[in-house]
Amino acid sequence: MEAAPIPGGGRSTLERPPLARLPDRALKYGLTAIAALILALIAYFFIRLVGEARPAFGKFGALGFAFNNDWNIPAERFGALPLVVGTLLTSVLALLIGVPVAVATAIYATELCPARLRAPLTLLVELLAAVPSVVYGLWGLFFLAPKLLPAEQWLADRLSFVPFIGGGLVTIPNYFVAGLVLAIMILPIVSAISREVMATVPADHKEAALGLGATRWEMIRMAVLPYCRSGIVGGAMLGLGRAIGETIAVAILIGGTPRLGSHLFGPGESLAGSIANEFGEAQGLHRSALFAAGLVLFVLTLLVNGVARALVLRAARGRTAQAGTVDAGMRLADTAAGV
């Protein structure tokens, strides 16, 4: 922008007077400050949370807190293993149920579906992300769980020889129902990411497979799925991060009993759920323990999301010429799915 100074002194006629350059500078440094604010915010966030969680970590030790199986509020003993297990069990259940369905939906929408149905189908799946978590809780507790109860009891009776699945008394809120509702909740994000990644498969590859005589399914299995593997895994990990952090639906559906459940169809508690259920009445060490649970949750979701983003970005970059636009499109899709 700047013109060379004219020999003999004086300003170039092309140069702006200093006063006119002021708004430009102000905007640039103002916006930079706002961006720096985001970083400061996260750092402050972390430090304050650690500060509040310190009494609990100090008393039980970080590992003792995370892995002791003893959450006893009256006795002021806080070992969060039942909560960690509840969180991981429901989230893994959500992945096992949700990911195959989400990938099937994505394959159908990108490869098999008539072109006219594609947009409505995508919209319907994305609308699942628009339903608030508390409504999932309401629906799960008063519609889904009672309807599923006989089926769950039947399964528990038939499989009574399998440890952890069968044998026990089935309750309305339980691990399984919480996991099932989580599966529905992560469906839109996993499906959206899978769809975006599948859209990056070059048409050449697919046409080559078909040209060699492959059937549709063989083309999907040999050309589409291997190409998208890391993207789909990344999408599933993003879903996992979402499931781990999901609070209200799980708090309503898991039962709110902070003990290690004896079986899949019994009540338990999750990290996020314990905060929602207990924080209102918590005092002193209990409150600190709940902050510690929040911190464990925070770190867990950061790790899972970090791995997920790395995988998704790797899937999109460096493969196609227009990797930049794919990346942009994918980020938009995952915003739309309510990240």
Binding site: R16, I42, L138, L141, F142, E218, I248, A272, L290
Partner: protein, 298 residues
């Protein structure tokens, strides 16, 4: 794909074998079944929301505050007025805080930061914020604004928690849209002698506006449905309250309280409130998509 055997005997050996064709059809069926399964929950949720929710809607449902009278079976439990107003008010304040900030960061990332290490760090931080569970935002605001100031719960504290939640969504969607603004537009404006700030305000932002509105509406829709960040920041109350410095009711928190109470009549009220909440969020989503369709960029 396969040539019908009848047309030419010599081509029959190229036909897809029966086993492969069966496998193809099986896979087709499985994938279709998966898709149908994915659509069932939405249908069931919408169906039950309409059946149960419309049943508890009445003219007074929207114009009365919820009451605490739940002891007798036929006592008047009231409606959702305070929750509806509280949600609108808190989400409006949260939007007023997060939208300018978020768009500012997005503009900085695209126009100034670009590919510098600092911009990458900010992008990474925003991605991290996206993954933070909403209840953790609630805890943070509780620490800073409730414990930190020594005062009690208040509507504006709930708004701050919601704003933190919206911020990464606004930044990311804004950045995506700004990246789609053609470089040529910026260069033409600069070549005409416009300073950078005028390029941003008169060329880049107006071009990106419809797309940005879409992202912002989706963020607002997300904030409107959140319960967890409000539990320990705005808490809940029965009375209508327009002062953001006091306890404030909201639709998600009222639904949560009603769901976790053991009274059947309160669950009825929760269905009605849930239908109202989902209607608001769906309308925001529909608007967002309509505007997205009109955008020339996306």
């Amino acid at each position: 794909m396969s040539t019908p055997g009848a047309s030419s005997e010599s081509l029959a050996r190229f036909a897809v074998s029966r086993a492969r064709r069966r496998r193809d059809r099986l896979a087709h069926g499985t994938i279709l079944a998966g898709t149908v399964i994915a659509l069932i929950p939405l249908m069931l949720i919408v169906y039950y929301l309409l059946i149960k929710g419309l049943g508890s809607w009445s003219a007074s449902f929207f114009t009365t505050d919820p009451t605490g009278n739940t002891f007798f079976k036929n006592s008047n439990i009231g409606g959702i007025k305070s929750a509806l107003l509280g949600t609108l008010e808190m989400v409006a304040l949260a939007s007023a805080m997060s939208i300018p900030l978020g768009i500012g960061v997005a503009v900085w990332l695209v126009e100034y930061g670009r590919t510098s290490w600092f911009a990458h760090t900010v992008r990474f931080a925003v991605d991290m914020l996206t993954g933070v569970p909403s209840i953790v935002f609630g805890l943070f605001v509780y620490i800073v604004l409730v414990v930190g100031t020594g005062s009690s719960f208040a509507g504006y504290k709930g708004s701050v928690a919601l704003a933190l939640l919206m911020l990464p969504v606004v930044i990311r969607s804004g950045e995506v849209i700004l990246l789609l603004v053609p470089e040529g537009l910026r260069e033409s404006a600069l070549a005409l002698g416009a300073p950078r700030w005028r390029v941003i305000f008169s060329v880049v932002l107006p071009t990106a506006l419809p797309g940005m509105v879409t992202g912002v509406l989706l963020a607002v829709a997300r904030a409107a449905g959140e319960t967890a960040p409000l539990l320990f920041t705005a808490a809940s109350t029965l009375k209508t309250n327009t002062d953001l410095g006091q306890f404030m009711n909201s639709l998600p928190v009222q639904i949560y309280n009603d769901v976790t109470s053991p009274t059947t009549s309160l669950v009825e009220r929760a269905w009605g409130a849930a239908l109202a909440l989902v209607t608001i969020i769906l309308l925001l989503n529909v608007f967002a998509r309509l505007i997205a369709r009109r955008s020339r960029l996306a």
